[in-house]
Amino acid sequence: MLFVLSEEHKHLGFLSEVDPAVVGESGRIAVEFLKKGSNPKIYEGALNVWSGSVQHGLEGLMYLLTESCKLTISEEDFQDSVLVLGFSEELTELLLQLYLENRKEIRQILSKPAPSLPHYHSLEWRLDVQLSSRPLRHQLKPTVTLKLHLEDGARRSAHVLQTDPATLQHLIDELERALAELKSSHCRRILHNIQ
């Protein structure tokens, strides 16, 4: 699957006018910007080229990388998509390498802003047994206290919950049923067919 570069993305044209070393450096900076956010000071110093076109060029490069990663396009499709910019073979090869090396990481970054619920991080548990209370002695009443750690982007939350042995067993049975469902033939067929 190809993606189409429009007129605006011809900003990438600046890459064919500079050294391959500069292209490599621009690529590295573009990936850094994707990971940590853009920082204008870096390109003002590092690339020794007029800053207006450098900014557009870097943004074009970032767009190229994010679109390719979003669609997880193959090598041939990447090369064909970039063809419209009329780059030399060496330059296309450099860009392709940049894409392949950083693809996995960029996809991970892209999947973070998608809408989602807080997700499971870990569970701590504690067993308490009530032995005695003011009205009643010689008891043996077990309780399980759970601390459920959830993560939502950078935010962590912890929920302290309690349950009794019977409910705990019920929860275990129910969640094991959920796990078993993924191995059922219906789910296997769907997972296999949508790829």
């Binding site: 990663c69 979003k70 669609l71 997880t72 996809r107 892209l110 999947s111 802003p113 998608a114 809408p115 989602s116 619920l117 807080p118 997700h119 499971y120 870990s122 569970l123 701590e124 548990w125 067993l127 047994v129 043996l140 077990p142 399980v144 206290t145 759970l146 459920l148 959830l150 929920h159 302290v160 919950l161 309690q162 349950t163 009794d164 042995p165 409910t167 705990l168 067993q169 019920h170 929860l171 275990i172 129910e174 969640l175 094991e176 959920a178 796990l179 469902e181 993924l182 789910c187 769907i190 997972l191 949508i194 790829q195």
Partner: protein, 187 residues
Amino acid sequence: MELSESVMKGLQTLADPTVFDLKSFTIFTEVAFDSLVSHRGGSVLGHPDLKHIDQTTLKHCHTAATTFILEGVKQNADKSTISSCLEDVKFLNERVDTFYISFQVGQCFVSLIHGPPHITDAEWRLEYCIKNSHVHKVNQPSYLISLNTERAGASSEINFSCTMDQLQDLVGKMKDAAKSLERATQS
């Protein structure tokens, strides 16, 4: 709500504008709630803005107010119950409102009395994510878990998502807890 005579008397004094003007009343209410909710709450006795009130009276009113608050929380009293009790001891409307606002905020310490929420059930949903607006070809299954909890008669839910590995981790840990429970109750 059944309140003792001492508590009623203390509240009546608190309602009296000749003993507690509005400013002192507001400060008193804040400090009284604070003393129940947080460990670092200041004391009404020796509070700089309440120095003009007799310390014994202050102590009596504090006991009455905190007893009233604890009764209210214990019985999960609603606005009309609280308001009618306070009106019976001659609280002016303004003071009833001030008191009730603090009461609602202070209800967070319900956990001290009732303990953490109790899990009653778990619901789950298995989904397969195909794509989203940022990434195409996600192709990953995920679970949506909802834990139903109950505390002091009120039920609520905790919702979260997890992958298969994470769910296995969760179930594994719960099974460890159940095994320990069995061993402990057998010995």
